[in-house]
């Protein structure tokens, strides 16, 4: 396979892993005001992602960095075209990060309420906006051959874009609720399980509508009809989505969490495969599409970066798995009593 094609899939993989890992943090933050009834519930929820969210967020930095390194033209055009939504996401992430650290520093209801609101917004908004942004990318973005954007930010909120946003929010809610089912005990755990089931019931029709809408709004399906073997990805996706319900019903919450994670990865790949070879298609003229072949870095950079990524990303995955393993048990009162706990 060509270097540029390898990089295209690595690019997709990094985004998928970002959604897989930080996705449950976004989900937890989104359902935080709903299932976190008491202050203790809330603390359990925050501490369930406490040791992990920071490392998860670096997948975003890496996805962004790799876009910059391997496809500089995509990095330049994508982020300047989507200036306002990206800024909103970044501000939301700033608030989420600070809120997690600062909420527990002062015991005062107003102080905590402010940070609680920011935790919700800082999780819900990125989930929604990433969904909206990717759905719009699937449709194509109005930019010309010079990388000049001719669109209107509000037009990103078109029906298909919003559908993508809803899909992401629901995926992350299910994924986050599944993690809470692992990390919580008692009432909170029951509420998390109930939330996972309810959100799943909403997720299934939204996913189906999204797949159908993609037929009308995008060219994503073209690659699938050219290479029918790729339908396996869609089938696996459906299987993963259904297995979430299966494992939740069996109270096998770890497996349910793996299943929701797999669903997120496969959903991302559904889009990434459909886009190939474009990373950032233009809705004005397909000739202006930025693709793996016309927007990539030099072969030397691609080779060096491939070496770096192939050596270091597996190492990162190993120590992150160790971190997850270290913090896999339900949150106890002793955990909450730690000075450093959120």
């Amino acid at each position: 396979m060509e270097l540029q094609s390898i990089w295209f899939f690595l690019w997709g993989l990094l985004w998928a892993v970002f959604f897989l890992t930080d996705g449950f943090d976004f989900g937890i933050g989104t359902i935080y005001p709903v299932i976190g009834k008491t202050d203790k519930d809330k603390r359990v929820m925050l501490n369930s992602m406490g040791p992990l969210w920071d490392g998860n967020e670096v997948w975003l930095i890496t996805a962004g960095g790799v876009t910059f390194a391997a496809f500089p033209k995509v990095y330049a055009t994508m982020f300047s075209s989507l200036y306002t939504p990206l800024m909103l996401i970044l501000f939301a992430l700033i608030f989420r990060g600070v809120a997690l650290h600062f909420r527990g520093k002062i015991e005062h209801p107003v102080w905590k309420n402010v940070w609680d609101t920011l935790i919700f917004l800082g999780s819900f908004l990125p989930a929604l906006l990433f969904g909206v942004a990717f759905a719009n990318i699937f449709q194509g973005i109005p930019f010309d051959g010079e990388g000049l954007y001719h669109g209107n930010t509000l037009k990103l909120l078109n029906p298909y874009g919003l559908l993508g946003g809803a899909l992401f929010v629901l995926l992350f809610i299910v994924h986050g609720a599944n993690w809470m089912a692992i990390k919580a005990t008692g009432d909170l755990k029951e509420r998390a399980v109930a939330m996972s089931s309810k959100a799943w019931l909403a997720l299934v029709p939204v996913a189906v509508i999204f797949l159908v809408a993609s037929w009308f709004a995008t060219d994503l399906w073209n690659n699938y009809f050219t290479y029918p073997i790729l339908f396996l990805v869609v089938l696996l996706n459906v299987a993963a989505l259904l297995s979430i319900r299966f494992f939740t019903a069996k109270q096998a919450y770890f497996k349910a969490w793996f299943a929701s994670g797999l669903t997120i990865v496969l959903c991302t790949f559904y889009g990434v495969i459909g886009l190939f070879p474009a990373l950032f298609p233009s809705s004005l003229n397909p000739e202006w599409n930025l693709t793996a072949f016309n927007a990539s870095s030099s072969p030397l950079t691609l080779k060096i970066m491939l070496g770096v990524v192939l050596v270091f990303i597996p190492i990162v995955i190993c120590y992150q798995i160790w971190a997850y393993h270290l913090f896999k048990d339900p949150i106890t009162d002793e955990d909450l009593g730690l000075d450093e706990a959120y």
Partner: protein, 436 residues
């Protein structure tokens, strides 16, 4: 308004704010790792209480450093898309390497450090802090290599209308970058040391928690002395390199207008760029600039008048920034040398302790001033000699940048205030009570 000008303001505001937290993270992480190692080795509770106290302050600072760093990586794309396209082949790779090699390590292990007190042995926990400290400093190194490319581009060729990588080894061994690394990394340690000494001095003046803060002070003093001298020395080497590679920056740093041999240093001046001269000059030392720039009293130093007008950096800020950095750097060396002689008589040196308390902001001002020299002195180039800042912006509307700039100022202002408030609160609460 010009979107490039607004983007410059935004980037300056965002980086300078980010850099309030970065050096403290770099410096404190090493010092805390050292303290925790002492605890893991000796089992003495005083080192544990030290680790926990400084760790609490470290984490507040760390949170602000991380969240303000994320926006920077994306601002190259949002506000500097022409630049990103032009040098992404090299510059983008360095940022991607920073994330995958260093930042992952730092961010994953800081989570383990915060929440892992009960899950890991004392030695393993201290090792985790070392990983955080090393990874943080490695992050800085990659970022400085990226900045080094902007200051002194090497290892590239112009092909396909952009700068493409030809020699990766040349990029990572760029002399400019290495000199930045050996200057900024010890300066960050020095800043961390001043932070610890300043707060320790406050407690020692109140005669509270004397054991913890005397020990903290001495550890920081030892590190501070070495790093102050080292920072001064590497700064001198850096200066000599700048004289060779960036003559316009050197001339602006010294408000030096006429090309001449035996060029003097002017201690204080008020440069007037439009008149191409200094309105006021006080204290001129003949030959000193030639000596500092080239280690030769007779060397010829290019003046600003011999640099085309559209390639001159803004003189006033570069000149003032350089004097601020060098002046405060010298002050810190003096304080550290004096402190070394008082190290066993801290409690009998209240004036020194008071000075150290009020000196907490000094390394911050020096470092920010140093970056002003480095970045403003590079103007009008975004990549020295290769691409001008004016040609590097994104094709975006000024109104978009204006809105985000206001957002940055409000949000960062607010966060900065909350951060300082929480750090002050944690300082006042002091270390945990002694327990057995």
């Amino acid at each position: 308004m010009d979107p490039v000008f607004l983007s410059r303001l935004q980037f300056a505001a965002a980086t300078m704010f980010h850099f309030l937290f970065v050096p403290l993270t770099l410096g404190l992480s090493v010092l805390i790792a050292y303290m925790e190692t002492k605890y893991a080795r000796t089992g003495e509770k005083v080192y544990l209480r030290m680790t926990k106290f400084w760790g609490k302050l470290f984490l507040i600072n760390f949170a602000l450093g991380v969240v303000t760093g994320i926006t920077l990586e994306f601002q190259f794309g949002t506000n500097w898309s022409r630049y990103s396209e032009y040098v992404g082949d090299i510059f983008g790779s360095l940022l991607a390497i920073e994330a995958s090699v260093a930042f992952f390590l730092e961010s994953t292990f800081i989570g383990i450090w915060i929440f892992g007190w009960k899950k890991l042995s004392a030695k393993a926990h201290a090792t985790v802090m070392w990983l955080v400290a090393i990874a943080g400093n490695f992050s800085a190194i990659w970022i400085l290599i990226a900045n080094g490319f902007m200051q002194n581009p090497v290892g590239y060729t112009i092909r396909n209308g952009r700068a493409e990588l030809t020699d990766f080894f040349a990029v990572i061994t760029n002399k400019h970058a290495i000199l930045e690394i050996v200057h900024v990394v010890p300066a960050s340690l020095l800043l961390g040391a001043f932070f610890i000494m300043g707060i320790s001095a406050w407690y020692l003046l109140k005669k509270q928690h004397v054991e913890i803060f005397q020990k903290s002070f001495r550890i920081a003093l030892m590190v501070g002395l070495v790093c102050a001298l080292w920072t001064g020395f590497s700064g001198d080497m850096h200066g000599i390199n700048v004289s060779k590679t960036q003559p316009a920056k050197l001339a602006a740093m010294e408000a030096h207008w006429e090309t001449q041999e035996r060029a003097p240093i002017i201690l204080f001046a008020l440069p007037a760029a439009h008149r191409e001269e200094n309105i006021i000059e006080i204290g001129s030392i003949p030959g000193m600039l030639s000596f500092l720039g080239f280690h030769d009293f007779n060397a010829e130093v290019t003046g600003l008048k011999d640099i085309p007008k559209d390639e001159r950096p803004p003189v006033f800020l570069t000149f003032v920034g350089f004097r601020t950095m060098v002046g405060l750097g010298t002050l810190m060396i003096g304080l550290m040398v004096y402190g070394w002689f008082r190290r066993n008589k801290l409690m009998e040196s209240p004036t020194f302790l008071k000075i150290m308390l009020w000196s907490i902001p000094v390394p911050w001002i020096a470092m920010e001033a140093g970056w002003l020299v480095s970045e403003i002195g590079r103007q009008p180039w975004i990549v020295y000699g290769l691409m001008k800042t004016a040609d590097a912006g994104s094709p975006i509307m000024a109104s978009q940048v204006a809105v985000s700039l206001i957002g940055f100022i409000l949000v960062y202002g607010l966060l900065g205030a909350v951060g300082v408030f929480l750090i002050a609160k944690s300082v006042k609460e002091g270390p945990e009570a002694e327990t057995n």
